[in-house]
């Protein structure tokens, strides 16, 4: 297995576990805002619990091969689609494709900055800020 293949396998595995943690944390029912908050909390907690994995998923993916970068972009697309659906579900206007991608980019950029600063363990403290950002920008018409 080449270094690129090893990285791709580790990346896919990490993204799969992150997605699984988020999906498992979202209850079947409840106030829409609560559902979004639960998913966000689970994602941040997951990354905070494993800073090396957070670094791999968010930092090393930027410097990796073009195929790994494509995988990272697909992850961003999935996040954008999930945000588009979630924010719409919260009762606000569902953001358009471009705005959903901008939201996903802002979210990931903030988390990446925290990881780069060696503050992955502190990510859960950003939850209210990020939730406010997603609702503020995502749910406006």
């Amino acid at each position: 297995m080449t270094a690129d293949q090893s990285f791709a396998a580790a990346y896919d595995d990490g993204v799969g576990r992150l997605s699984g943690a988020v999906e498992a944390a979202i209850p079947d029912g409840g106030a829409p805002r609560t559902l979004l908050a639960a998913g966000l909390r689970a994602g941040l907690d997951f990354l905070a619990s494993d800073p090396p994995l957070a670094n791999l998923l968010l930092v090393e993916a930027l410097a990796a091969s073009s195929s790994a970068r494509l995988a990272h972009e697909r992850s961003l697309d999935r996040l954008a689609a999930a945000l588009q659906a979630s924010v719409g579900v919260t009762g606000g206007a569902s953001p358009g494709d471009e705005r959903a991608r901008l939201l996903a980019g802002g979210l990931v950029s903030h988390v990446t900055s925290c990881v780069l600063a060696g503050e992955a363990e502190l990510l859960p403290e950003s939850r209210d800020l990020l939730l406010g950002f997603l609702l503020e920008v995502g749910s406006s018409p």
């Binding site: 106030a31 606000g92 901008l102 903030h110 900055s113 406010g132 609702l135």
Partner: protein, 236 residues
């Protein structure tokens, strides 16, 4: 940096931004100088070589990426010797950071010029976004340097990129008419989204269409500052 280090915003076809070369025609400033005695001042030769190195760096980054790009690639692309390269830069990172500084200053100066004289905050945001997207759409290699390579070129490059973003974030916050309770980090989050969008357009070869995204981008930047109520207040 010297005045002759004005950004050389090369496009894929070797295009350069207007006014980028401190009064020198691009064809002259960037052309390879004749070998041997040519009677040109040493400072001109050095400036010419530096510009050609920047141009080569910009042109080669999308092909190789920062990590795989070598000084040999750059010197061959610029048509300069290794000795000439090392007279200008301590190494690849030094060269990259210098190019990043030039490109950042180039973008800032032009965006700030676009909003000069505008008093209304919203009009300033609109003008700045339109100017930035137009500039980067016309100079995709600069967009690639700033949005794609800077985050992956090491800590110093990321710090430089962050300084640029901080400058735009401060401008976005300054004098906004929105709620006083908006956190300062809101502008950082918004600009993080913008950089990700720029990187996507540039990497996918759609940089030229960036100006078409101006309305979506402006809407994204304005929303938190122009909306009147607490986020999701009615959704709990």
């Amino acid at each position: 940096m010297t005045p002759s280090e004005q950004p050389c915003a090369a496009g894929r076809e070797g295009r350069f931004g207007e006014g980028a070369l401190a009064g020198l025609p691009a064809e002259l400033a960037l052309s390879r100088l004749p070998a041997g005695r040519h009677g040109l001042p040493r400072s001109f030769v050095a400036g010419n070589q530096r510009l050609r190195i920047f141009a080569a760096l910009l042109r080669l980054l999308p092909e190789h990426g920062y990590a795989a790009l070598t000084i040999g690639h750059i010197t061959r692309g610029a048509g300069v010797s290794r000795a000439a390269f090392y007279q200008q830069f301590a190494g690849k990172e030094d060269c990259f950071l210098a190019a990043l500084d030039v490109a950042s200053r180039w973008l800032c100066e032009r965006v700030e010029a676009a909003v000069e004289g505008l008093e209304d905050w919203e009009a300033r945001v609109r003008a700045a976004a339109a100017a930035a997207l137009t500039l980067l759409g016309a100079n995709p290699l600069v967009g690639h340097l700033l949005a794609v390579e800077a985050p992956r070129a090491g800590g110093a490059a990321r710090e430089r990129q962050q300084l640029l973003l901080d400058r735009f974030a401060a401008a976005l916050r300054a004098g906004h008419p929105g709620r006083e309770d908006l956190p300062d980090e809101m502008a950082d989050l918004l600009l993080g989204g913008v950089v990700t969008m720029l990187a996507r357009y540039v990497r996918s070869g759609r940089a030229e269409t960036l100006p078409e995204a101006t309305e979506a981008l402006v809407g994204f930047l304005l929303i938190p500052y122009l909306s009147g109520e607490e986020p999701g207040a009615t959704l709990a």
